[in-house]
Every structure is written in C-alpha cells, then in structure tokens.
C-alpha cells in the first residue's frame, strides 16, 4: 500500500497572536484555554495521518471540530500555520505559487457541500472548468466533460444551467467536474450532506461504483456515521481540531478510543437488534458430490468472485475453495476438488446478533458461513454487509 497523502503536525490557528497561541499548543493547552488566553481560534491542532492510494478516507467530527479547515489545507485553500502536507512525497509547503497551481490542476479536485457550480455556465462548461483553466482545447475539453457527465449518469443536460437541475443532479455535476480533469485525489467536504436521504444513498452507491473502477484517493468529510461506515475504508475522528482516532470502521466500532468516539457510535446500538439472518446473503456454491474444478472456476468467473462455498448433495456445509487453488488443480489435471477445500471457515447461526459478529468479522478475511441446526449452509455474511446493516441498510439477496 503506497501512501498518497501524508499530513504531519498540520496546524491552523485563526486570528491574531499566533506565535503565542502556537506556544500554548505545544504545551498541550486546550482550544478553549487558548481562545481565552490569546483570542486566537485553533482550527486544526497538530494533525498527523496518512491516506493510502486508492482508499476512501472519511473524516468525522462535530461541527467546528476543524474538518473543513483540515481538508482546505490539503490543497492550501487555507494556508497552514504550521506543519507539512506531502502528496506523493512532495512537500506542498515548499511549492511556489506556480507549482501550487499545477498541483491543484493536476493532482486534486474538490467537491463542495453546496455544489458550488457556476450559475453563469452550462453543465458542460461547469464540468470542463478545470480543463479550461489548464488551457485544454475546447473540443478535447468538451469531450472529456461529456464523458465525465455520462460516467456520473447525467445524460442530455450538457447545455442546461445548474439552476435547472435538482440538488442530486447538481452534485453529480460537481462530481463530474472533479472527475473530468482526471485528478488522482478527490477532496469531498460534506459532499452529500445537502441531499435528501434517498439521493444521498444513490450518490454513495454511485461513488462506490465509480471507485471500484477508478481507484481514486478520496478524502471525504462527513458528519453522518452511517455514511462513514458505508463508504469509508478508514475513518478519522476529530474533536476541537485534534485527531482523536484513526482506524477501520470495525476498529472504531469495536475499540472506540474514548467517550467522544463512543458517543459518536452510540446510535449503532441497532446492531443488537439485528441478527445474522438480516445481513446474510445467498452464497454461490458447488456440490462436491457432482461438480469438479472446472464447474467451480466457471461459477466463480460468472459471478465475479474469487472463492466459492462447497456443499454436498444434502446441502450440508463442507467448506470453501479458493480460485487460485482450483486453477492449480485444473493445470495439474487433478479432478479432485475435495483436495483443496478449506474447512477453517468461521461459522454462525441465523439467530446470532450482529453485534456479536462485528469483532470476529474484522479479524477474518473469509465471510461467515451461516448454518442451520442440521449443518446446512443457509447464507454467508460478508464484512461489508455487517457494516452496511449497521449503517441501516438491510441486505437481502
């Protein structure tokens, strides 16, 4: 995993008497104390974190905790008081004006909470704005913008104006504008917060779909835990300008660093009401008594999966097989699928509360097998489904 964005000791203090405020920060004085003593507001307090290439990194925190300030320092819309921002190991703070423009043009694009579309420009012209300031020729620009709009599912609105579109559509344009200039990093400040719940969920799905093929590095600000759990590969929680905890959704849920984080995840208590049956999905299986390696690999290919569950003719659970092993069997001309079946699969029953699964599921890469009392395979639970369920989306496949 390569690090795409690294932030070291990044600090922003607003107001006057900044040197004094900085000193107090070093002495670990709180934001309130510093405001009291100097009148300066601490926006972000010595933040350190790394964002991996291709991940969705969600930043959460209450209002005023410094999320917007932090994300705006990453492209230096807000000038940091102190600290470093490394993009691909290049220190942004050492760049002159021209080089900074170049980074903003080529490396990162921003999506805004209230869309920030230019009302005097058509949808196509809005989408092409980034390319336009780079001096890309109009025909090329229009083609790329048009493609980006298609990508986010907006057809036939090229020549409309933003006011003519609904909020959800406007934010698609915002996303298309960010995608059009092919930047590797997307900065999204509460990008979906202004949308109604249904549109919001659509946009989250859209983003996840796009991410599957595009592998952008996305820094996403949210104040909605469900959203963070749904889309985040990792989550960072901030409070009063400080980073409180950084981790995978499972880590945050299972090991909250302190009360503040606990309060954040309180509404996740729904988990105890949900059982495995609510979150399991239908598995793809092969019958060990009649199917061989070729059938197994075919089925995996058809369903776009890298492993498959193995049962017998009575639907009794046997284990699961990995694509690599099965391919090897085929290469060796060995028809005995049984020889590669793994049996160390975590098992559970349909009435197990989801809450009891969270901890275990975060430690195993293999989905849970849900078995009935006769040891028959009734479903499987993938990691995403548990988190999805916590986030309020029942899975039924």
């Amino acid at each position: 995993m390569t690090t795409k964005v690294e932030v070291k000791q990044l600090t922003k203090i607003f107001g006057k008497r900044i040197p004094k405020a900085k000193e107090l920060l070093k002495e670990h004085k709180s934001k309130a104390e510093i405001l009291e003593a100097t009148g300066a507001t601490v926006g972000v307090d010595q933040a350190n974190f790394k964002v991996n290439a291709g991940e969705i990194f969600v930043i959460m925190g209450l209002s005023g905790s410094g999320k917007s300030t932090l994300i705006r320092m990453i492209n230096r819309l807000i000038e940091p008081t102190d600290g470093q921002i490394l993009i691909d190991d290049q220190d942004l703070m050492t760049l002159d004006k021209k080089a900074l423009l170049e980074v903003r043009r080529k490396k990162m694009s921003m999506v805004f909470q209230n869309f920030a579309l230019f009302p005097n420009r058509t949808i196509l012209e809005n989408t092409g704005y980034g390319l336009e300031v780079q001096g890309v020729e109009k025909t090329v620009r229009d083609k790329k913008s048009h493609d980006a709009l298609e990508l986010v599912g907006l057809h036939g609105y090229d020549n409309e104006y933003p006011q003519q579109l609904s909020g959800g559509m406007q934010q698609r344009v915002g996303l298309a504008r960010a995608l059009a200039n092919d930047a590797e990093i997307l900065l999204m400040d509460e990008a979906f917060s202004a949308l109604d719940p249904l549109n919001r969920k659509d946009m989250q799905d859209e983003l996840l779909d796009l991410q599957e093929t595009m592998h952008k590095t996305i820094i996403f600000i949210s104040h909605d835990l469900n959203e963070a759990l749904r889309i985040g590969d990792r989550i960072m929680i901030m409070r009063d300008g400080e980073v409180v905890q950084t981790g995978t959704p499972e880590e945050i849920l299972t090991h909250p660093a302190n009360h503040y984080v606990e309060r954040f995840i309180e509404d996740v208590d729904r988990t105890k009401l949900l059982t495995a049956a609510n979150v399991m999905i239908r598995p793809n299986t092969v019958n060990i008594d009649k199917d061989g390696p070729r059938i197994a690999i075919r089925r995996m290919r058809d369903n776009d999966i890298s492993s498959i569950y193995v049962i017998d003719s009575n639907r009794k659970f046997v284990g699961f097989a990995d694509a690599d092993d099965v391919i090897k069997l085929i290469q060796d001309n060995n028809p005995d699928l049984r020889s590669v079946v793994q049996t160390n699969v975590p098992e559970t029953t349909a009435d197990t509360p989801v809450r009891d699964l969270i901890e275990k599921i975060s430690t195993t890469p293999i989905p849970f097998a849900v078995l009935d009392d006769q040891h028959r395979l009734v479903g499987i639970i993938v990691r995403g489904a548990v988190l999805g369920a916590i986030a309020g989306n029942e899975v039924n496949a």
Binding site: L101, F112, A116, F118, N120, V133
Partner: protein, 281 residues
C-alpha cells in the same frame, strides 16, 4: 480657543498644488486631444444620422433588449418623446448632451471598473478609496469646474472631465460590491481547480458581478446627465446650455421645455441600460 489657532492656509495649498500641476500642459493637452477625439466621433456619428433613423435605431434596440416581453408603453414613450424633442428644435442639443453623457460614462467605466476590481482585491486599497469616493460624490459639483477649466480650458472636454469625476463613484462602488458578493464557495471552487487570479476574475468574478456592476454604470450615466447644466457653464454644449440660457433670460417657458427634453433623454437612457442589463442574465 479657536481664535488662538490661525486659519489654516488650506485654500492656498490647493491653489499652489493646482498651479504646480499646470506645468504639465503637455500631459493635459494630450488628454484634451484624446477626449476631444471621442467627443467628435460621437458627435460626427449623431450628426450623420437623420432624425428618423436615430429614432428607429432607439426603438429597435429597445425592442430587441426587452424581447420577448413587448413593452409597448416604453416604445410609445420613446417615439413620442424623441418626436417632441425634434419638434421643439432641441435635436442637435439633445445629441450634444448624449455625446457628453456617453463619453463621460465610457471614461467612468474604463477607469471605474479597474478601480473597483482593485478595491475588491485589496482591503487596503478599499480603505483608501472609500473616503475618496465619498468626497467625489458629496463635493458640490460646481467645484470641479475650477480645476477642469484650469487644466482643460473651455468646451466639451472640461465638461466631460467634471462629469467623469462626479459620475464615476457608483461604477467603482458597484464593481467592488459585485465582486465581493460572489459566493465564497464559488471562489473556492475556482481556486481549487487551479485558476490564476486573472482567470478567476474573467471567468467567475466579473460574470457574476455583472448585473450589480451594470446597475452602477446605469447610476453613473444618470449622474453624468445630472451634470449637463453645470457643465454648460464651462462651455459644454447641449440641452444644459439651453437651460442655462433660459435661466439667464428669465425665460420660464424655454427653461421648462429644455428641462423636459433632459428628462425624456434620462428616462430613455435609464430604461435602455436596465433592459440591456436584464437581457444578459
């Protein structure tokens, strides 16, 4: 208390300053020639146009600018108003006044918009400009006649200069205001995509400030028009001269008719600039 301090020689200082400035005659002559050329160009054009064609052009422009709404009352007013001016024998005076107003508005725009932009970009510059603009607008307009005559003599050009000084502040103010009113997130969007300051200005700030800015231009134009009588005192010809003479002759009738002609021109200019402003949005 007050008598203890001798009177400040402020007036003397200003006189000295003005005297000192007059040594740059070459510079002022250059300006006079330049502005004179613009004035002549406008006047030449208006003299070339037959009255009926002029009226038709005004009606055509108004019709086009107000499309698709058909403002028959406005068109009717313009037609009758211009015919009345023609009938009263004020046609050439009217075109002279129009020349004065258009030239001063044009110059106010050329100087005022960049000043407004600078004000929007720099807090310091804004702080410096604000009192100057207040001064320019509240100083009795007559006062501008004195230096205008000192530097530019008598005629249209000093009239234009005095009008520009008096009429420019709204353009500057409204340009500044219009740019500052552009929503912060649009500015952030422009910056985050790597716009240079210039690109941001041309592609985002000015287009979004346009209607506010145009309202300023409209106000400047009206102020310039309100200067025509005063400007006529230093030889700027036009409807103002007619009013001025009428006052001198104590002739209420022709004073009123020439005043009416100014009002008609004012209404036409106002409605037309407003229509154009709305059209662009």
């Amino acid at each position: 208390m007050l008598p203890l301090i001798s009177q400040l020689p402020l007036a003397d200082w200003i006189n000295e300053f003005v005297d000192w400035l007059t040594q740059f005659t070459g510079f002022f002559n250059g300006i006079t020639t330049g502005i004179g050329a613009v004035v002549d160009l406008f006047q030449w054009f208006f003299d070339l146009l037959p009255q009926w064609l002029f009226i038709l052009i005004i009606l055509g422009l108004t019709y086009w600018a107000t499309r698709p709404a058909r403002k028959w009352t406005l068109l009717g007013f313009e037609l009758l108003g211009l015919l009345l001016i023609w009938n009263l024998g004020f046609w050439r005076d009217m075109t002279q006044t129009l020349t004065l107003v258009l030239t001063s508005s044009l110059i106010a725009l050329i100087i005022g918009i960049p000043l407004g932009i600078l004000m929007a970009k720099s807090k310091t510059f804004e702080a410096i400009m604000k009192p100057i603009l207040d001064l320019m607008q509240t100083m009795p307009a007559f006062v501008y006649l004195i230096p205008a005559v000192a530097f530019f003599g008598i005629g249209m050009v000093p009239g234009v200069i005095a009008s520009v000084i008096f009429a420019m502040p709204p353009t500057v103010r409204m340009t500044n205001l219009g740019i500052r009113q552009v929503p912060a997130d649009l500015i952030e969007a422009a910056d985050s995509y790597g716009s240079t300051g210039w690109q941001k200005l041309i592609k985002v700030q000015l287009p979004l400030a346009k209607s506010t800015l145009m309202a300023g231009v409209n106000q400047s134009m009206m102020l310039a028009l309100s200067m025509v009588v005063i400007a006529s005192m230093i030889g700027a010809m036009g409807l103002g001269t007619q009013v001025y003479f009428a006052v001198g002759r104590n002739d209420a009738g022709s004073g009123f008719t020439s005043g009416l002609a100014i009002v008609i021109l004012a209404i036409i200019l106002d409605r037309m600039t407003q229509a154009f402003n709305k059209k662009k949005n």
